[in-house]
């Protein structure tokens, strides 16, 4: 007799990132898979945690968040995002952006509701939607063109790849209009987008707002986990957002991650900011998830936000990530792998097209089960090149589309990236 609930049956295997990290360790690979920095987290965070551990309360605190953290986060968002937040009603803290999203889904989705995702969409969204009995619909974002090595290297100047229209991934607005309907409750978008690094433009949001005007019941969930990492013309935090778009902000909940902001993915502090009604539902969900967060972690995070409110820290972090992005992209372009490329506008990752790669047949077979191309490629990389990347078909409803892409993380030290590049030469 099998005791596990039906909703979990598809999700009992080790989750993809954990699985590939384990493989990386087992086989001595360079791990460009899971999106965590392998350079040290800032000392200010460690010091803050250490000091608060000695003095801050260790008892239950408010479900919505420690007052200090809510205040610091609100001030920070006002300064850096230009978004005024009512501390009592329009913000909540949870255990990482992951837990925030989980609370959003529980707080907002009824069984039978539909959620629109822009594929490639972070693969943890879909299960959370299913767990609430809701249905996810993938609207693909498609690259304008494939850029081969010769084409993309032309845009490499002074150590950087210049972003151009050739790197655009475009949303099919017609398809979006077709699939959005009365049952659509939530539209989930991620900007900068994991894995492709797309930053949505104002024009795209205007078009989105036009469409959503016809569907007033749709809530926008804006996943801004990478909002501090934007390249080229964009500054940290300063790029087009739903939470500040005049026609989208009142229906938006914006999700951010202090852990990502401070290069400490294990911190487990994230925020939801937005419409009071949405936040009310999210707070109720949180009450019965984790009840409240650890106060020490919260006040330490508050201190870091206070200390970095002038944004200088994030300038230097963004510059670092931009260098790493360029280093990795160059290495991938110069590798012996015949891939197609795009310059990312932000985030932690670069995606490449692998449709022209010759992958040995054996990697398509996993215990008699036929793998998609991206998984075959990932195992090929692990076993013969010693570099881990992440297959992108889990990010897509349309697996035939998604299987042409893999994701590479550049949130790594120069040493790590160089080592990967050497193995790919």
């Amino acid at each position: 007799m099998q005791p596990i609930a039906n909703r979990m049956l598809n999700y009992l295997q080790p989750q993809m990132y954990a699985k590939f990290t384990m493989l990386a360790n087992q086989k001595g690979c360079v791990n460009l898979g899971q999106g965590f920095p392998n350079f040290p987290s800032p000392q200010m965070l460690r010091d803050a945690l250490s000091e608060e551990a000695q003095t801050e309360s260790l008892q239950y605190t408010m479900t919505s968040g420690h007052p200090k953290l809510l205040n610091s986060a609100s001030k920070f968002f006002e300064q850096q995002i230009g978004c005024k937040v009512n501390v009592d009603k329009e913000i909540m803290v949870s255990s990482g952006a992951q837990a925030v999203l989980s609370c959003v889904m529980q707080g907002v989705l009824n069984p039978g509701d539909e959620v629109i995702l822009f594929d490639p969409a972070f693969d943890l969204y879909r299960p959370m939607i299913e767990f609430q009995g809701a249905k996810h619909i993938g609207v693909p974002i498609i690259p304008k063109k494939l850029n081969n090595k010769q084409e993309i290297i032309k845009r490499y100047r002074n150590g950087k790849f210049q972003y151009s229209q050739d790197d655009d991934w475009e949303l099919d607005f017609n398809y979006l209009e077709k699939v959005i309907n009365k049952k659509t409750k939530l539209l989930l978008l991620n900007s900068p987008m994991n894995p492709i690094g797309k930053v949505f433009s104002t024009e795209e949001y205007n078009q989105l707002a036009d469409i959503l005007d016809k569907h007033p019941q749709v809530v926008v969930c804006e996943d801004a986990a990478y909002h501090h990492i934007t390249f080229g013309k964009y500054q940290p935090f300063n790029y087009p957002r739903c939470i500040t778009h005049p026609r989208l902000k009142d229906r938006t909940v914006c999700v951010t991650s202090a852990g990502k902001m401070y290069s400490a993915t294990g911190l487990r502090i994230g925020f939801a900011v937005g419409n009071e009604e949405i936040i009310k539902g999210i707070k109720a969900a949180q009450t019965y998830h984790i009840f409240c967060l650890n106060p020490v972690i919260q006040t330490a995070t508050a201190r870091c936000l206070d200390q970095t409110i002038d944004g200088k820290y994030f300038q230097s972090v963004k510059n670092l990530y931009e260098e790493q992005a360029n280093m990795l992209l160059k290495g991938l372009v110069e590798s012996r792998l015949n891939m197609n490329y795009w310059v990312p506008q932000g985030g932690y990752f670069v995606v490449t097209d692998i449709s022209e790669i010759q992958i040995p047949e054996k990697y398509f077979n996993d215990n008699g089960f036929r793998l998609t191309r991206d998984f075959a490629f990932a195992y090929y990389m692990i076993n013969e090149f010693g570099v881990v990347c992440i297959p992108c078909s889990p990010y897509y409803e349309n697996k035939a589309l998604g299987q042409n892409y893999v994701r590479w993380a550049f949130c790594k030290t120069s040493e790590t990236i160089q080592e990967a590049i050497n193995r790919l030469k």
């Binding site: 009992l12 899971q34 009840f291």
Partner: protein
């Protein structure tokens, strides 16, 4: 933006949660807060020290969903030593963000819509929403006190300032009613021992009887909430009392939930555990993947250090003695109060419950001051206490399916300093 943004399942739960509400009221009215179950004495310095040290050295990146290896190892060794349970670290244990989060993951992992869950009322009021969120149905099987004790009879039982649990303090489970309620759809039964709020510790005989009944319903999983397993009085030693997770006929069908935060008097810690058979833990880990993904590594290794440091159990013997003193102090104060309460001696936990049937409450407190709706007697009593006596307690009807039964009881927390308890007792004289 439309109305009804919020999902239907959340609609009954949008108001400020009861404990937070009463804590706010306590602060506002400068009451002595005997409501929410958090200690107001300092947590151990070794915990603060551990967090402070680990903060400087432990990784700050993602760790394993199931829990940091060091924590799983330390917890397993601790449970082996103190509970007599051998745990396979790779398969039979998972850490989550407090016992609360563990329970949320258990219900998500194991309950299908329309499954039924049996709760022994008075049942911690968080279970029911968690069950509903999975589309399942909760069924309350009440425990009832064997008798109402007069103040005199309790006072008589004091010897050298101490009082022992006796038959007169027992709350009994109606096994016939339980058998009636069990059916093919029953998926889970929640056993909280020591039980919040009444402090009941289930006996071996009771667990034997439960085991017999459950043999006829092999699909039923036992969710054993042992959040207070370190706080057991009288002849029981910390961690050492009858458990489902060690009962020969129940262990293979039990998931046992514990709380490091409660163990170390640091309810804000947010580290809890589930242990049990791999077939359950597997699902719980998956649920956790999509809730929190993983816990903060520093909190985990710090907790591991504390478990390692206290594995000889001495710390818990001292803590238990402290809580037992506080419970006696509070009990005495309630007996000597001017309120005509009926009391029972608890066997463990953080709380004691009193029957308020014979207390006169001014009529005005039966009306909610926000919207005027009629309140049950326990809520009326709680507001009466908060407004006129200056002591906060928790109404127990939310712990019962049968509100009429539950409205006879209120809960008082004794996980408080002597000063706090004395202050409360003075105000109640």
């Amino acid at each position: 933006m439309q109305d009804n943004i919020i999902a239907d399942r959340m609609a009954p739960y949008l108001q400020l949660q009861m404990y937070a509400k009463f804590t706010q009221l306590a602060v506002k009215n400068s009451c002595v807060n005997m409501g929410q179950g958090f200690p107001n004495f300092p947590p151990p310095q070794f915990l603060r020290q551990a967090i402070a040290e680990e903060a400087l050295t432990e990784t700050l990146q993602y760790t394993i969903t199931a829990g940091h290896p060091r924590l799983l190892k330390a917890a397993s060794e601790f449970f082996d030593k103190h509970m007599g349970v051998k745990v396979d670290i790779a398969k039979e244990i998972v850490a989550s963000s407090g016992a609360q989060s563990v329970l949320a993951c258990i219900f998500q992992a194991l309950l299908n819509p329309n499954d039924e869950v049996i709760c022994f009322d008075p049942a911690f009021d968080f279970y029911r929403p968690l069950i509903e969120f999975q589309g399942a149905k909760h069924v309350g099987v009440p425990l009832r006190p064997s008798q109402l004790n007069s103040k005199a009879s309790i006072l008589n039982r004091f010897e050298n300032g101490k009082i022992k649990f006796s038959k007169e303090d027992e709350w009994h489970l109606d096994y016939d009613y339980l058998e009636q309620k069990l059916n093919d759809k029953t998926k889970m039964i929640i056993v909280n021992s020591p039980q919040n709020p009444i402090g009941k510790v289930f006996s071996v005989e009771e667990l034997d009887r439960l085991a017999e009944i459950l043999e006829k319903h092999p699909q039923v999983i036992v969710c054993e909430d042992a959040a207070y397993h370190h706080v057991v009085f009288g002849d029981y030693q910390p961690f050492s009392y009858p458990r489902c997770i060690t009962h020969p006929k129940l262990k293979s069908k039990t998931v046992c939930v514990t709380s490091a935060g409660k163990m170390f008097s640091a309810t804000g810690l947010r580290v809890g555990f589930a242990i049990g058979d791999e077939k359950y833990i597997k699902g719980i880990k998956s649920a956790q993947t999509y809730h929190n993904f993983c816990l903060n590594p520093i909190l985990q290794t710090a907790t591991a250090k504390c478990l390692e440091q206290t594995i000889d159990g001495q710390y818990f013997t001292e803590i238990r003695d402290l809580y037992e003193e506080q419970s006696t102090m509070l009990l005495k104060g309630l007996i000597e109060s001017r309120l005509n309460l009926h009391c029972w001696v608890p066997q463990g936990g953080y709380f004691l419950v009193t029957d308020i049937t014979d207390v006169e409450i001014p009529e005005k407190y039966f009306k909610d001051d926000q919207d005027g709706h009629q309140l049950t007697k326990d809520f009326a009593f709680a507001y009466y206490m908060a407004n006129e006596i200056g002591v906060v307690c928790i109404p127990c009807s939310p712990y019962f399916e049968n509100k009429e039964l539950g409205s006879r009881f209120v809960r008082w927390a004794f996980c408080k300093t002597t000063e706090t308890i004395q202050d409360a007792c003075n105000r109640l004289k």
